[in-house]
């Protein structure tokens, strides 16, 4: 009886040991893709360790592809052309790729794992994107739910960007995330100031990054970000400008206006800024100062629901109504919009009704 028991225990132990060895072997062979060669734009070759998502593998090589969702496949920003070695399209990619993109080899770099050598096409401008170490130099309350965060650069000590572009701020692990995540924020400061950038960050309920910024980040904290990204910028024409923003959509418009003021732009410009009540308005004094610095610039804040205590004698109503009232004819003009997708969609409709060509409407949509 005892001998049988010992034999049974030994047999089970042996089987377990054998299974463990098989699992280790499988892990070392099936899951190990070894070194893989990435050939980029037929010019640059990198050797990376296989097994990681392409987005992460490139980031490890200091090549930063824009991604607003932290590699979850929910923003569709990290598209790249993979000419060879990407394998079959994944179900998680299909919703983001139209038929032409699928034919052209466009893939979501956060979803494709590096398992073999690959040939890639990466837009040249992304090679100028860098990762920066920096320190929070100031945090100011702009409204009850928007904070201005000033970030002083350490390494590299300067960033070159175009007014209107954005960076991706890294949120370190904290109570809402076990791993670093990145979120995109437009730069609000003048590009001439290369050693410090300003961000305007509105609190979003349950937002991983905005909760971190609003409830945990403090002056003196070290932060990491990468950038710059984006093609939202002032076009080099002489056309009249209509800017429309709401909430933290102020940021890229402010950057554009600051640059116009510094360079002595003579372009005619009007800036409509929508808020609910006076407590949602911010940087009004700076905008009024810009009216003096830019001879052809007018700032028109509008409140959709002014409170009695606001003593508001400015424009009231939805921003679309105020734009429609002040812009009888938008043909030949250019528009720059930033804010909620709901606001942008409604404003695009109004501008087109007023004769503006869709090609002349530029926007940075938070969606």
């Amino acid at each position: 009886m005892l001998v049988s028991f010992i034999i049974a225990v030994a047999a089970v132990g042996a089987i377990n040991t054998l299974l463990a060895i098989l699992i280790m072997l499988a892990d070392a062979t099936i899951g190990n893709y070894g070194d893989c060669k990435l050939t980029i734009n037929d010019a640059k070759e990198l050797t990376v360790k296989g097994g990681k998502p392409l987005l992460s593998a490139l980031k490890d090589e200091q090549i930063f592809i824009p991604s607003a969702c932290g590699g979850r496949g929910s923003c569709g920003l990290c598209k790249l052309v993979i000419e060879d070695g990407g394998g079959d399209l994944l179900p998680t990619e299909l919703p983001w790729l139209d038929a032409d993109e699928q034919k052209s080899g466009v893939r979501l770099s956060c979803q494709v794992k590096v398992k073999r050598d690959m040939r890639l096409r990466i837009p040249e401008e992304l090679f100028s994107v860098k990762q920066f170490s920096a320190t929070v130099s100031a945090i100011n309350d702009l409204t009850h739910d928007i904070k201005e965060v000033k970030i002083k650069l350490s390494e590299p000590a300067a960033i070159e960007f175009t007014a209107g572009q954005f960076i991706q701020l890294e949120v370190p692990p904290y109570e809402l995330t076990d791993e670093p995540v990145y979120r995109a924020y437009s730069i609000a400061s003048d590009p001439v100031k290369q050693d410090e950038i300003e961000l305007e960050i509105r609190y979003v309920p349950n937002g991983i990054c905005t909760t971190y910024v609003h409830k945990h980040l403090k002056e003196g904290d070290e932060v990491t970000f990468n950038g710059p990204y984006g093609d939202f910028h002032l076009q080099p024409t002489e056309a009249e400008i209509i800017c429309i923003a709401g909430g933290s959509g102020m940021a890229p418009i402010k950057s554009i206006l600051e640059e116009m003021a510094r360079t002595g732009s003579k372009r005619k410009a009007v800036y409509f800024f929508g808020a609910r009540s006076k407590r949602d308005l911010f940087l009004v004094e700076r905008m009024q100062a810009l009216e003096k610095e830019l001879p052809q610039f007018k700032f028109i804040p509008a409140l959709s629901e002014p409170q009695p205590e606001d003593n508001w004698d400015g424009e009231t109503g939805l921003i679309t109504e105020v734009v429609a009232k002040h812009v009888p004819d938008a043909s030949g003009k250019e528009a720059y919009l930033c804010g909620s997708p709901l606001m942008i969609d409604a404003c695009v409709k109004v501008l087109q009704e007023k004769g503006m060509s869709e090609d002349n409407i530029y926007y940075d949509k938070f969606a």
């Binding site: 929910s74 923003c75 959709s304 629901e305 709901l342 969606a367």
Partner: protein, 153 residues
Amino acid sequence: MKQTPEMERIQRQMRPGVISYDGFLGSDKRLLCEIMDADEAAVRRMGLSHSAIAARMRELREAGARGLGQTTSVPPHFEVTVDAVRGKLPCPFLHEGLYEKIYTIVKNNTSGESVTYTDMNIHMIEAHGFYEGEGAPFRQDPATLARVLEIED
């Protein structure tokens, strides 16, 4: 309701990191069918239906959307904010389509209570009777929804 193999697949989709960082289950250790059964019972006890709850959520969302991203007053005594963050999500119930990350905050000025829900919540309640697991960031408690949004049978 029985936990079918399909529901097993759906529950796997709902885990953290598959579709969204936090997933849809929170700290809830129950089977998906048990979570849905419990909420179904709660809805029935109130004399309501998933479609009635979703319809009220959508009604307030549409009213709030007129504020174009700003908080707006909605009669008789609500304040509603509808806004969006970057990105889209597929529904974990394994069907086609993506949902924009649009969220709605409804504050009931009479009670002072507020709820925050997403377009995905409205869809999952209406189409699947799913309110998310306990502890999930966007878990919608049916009784809280009924009370704050003043949903009547």
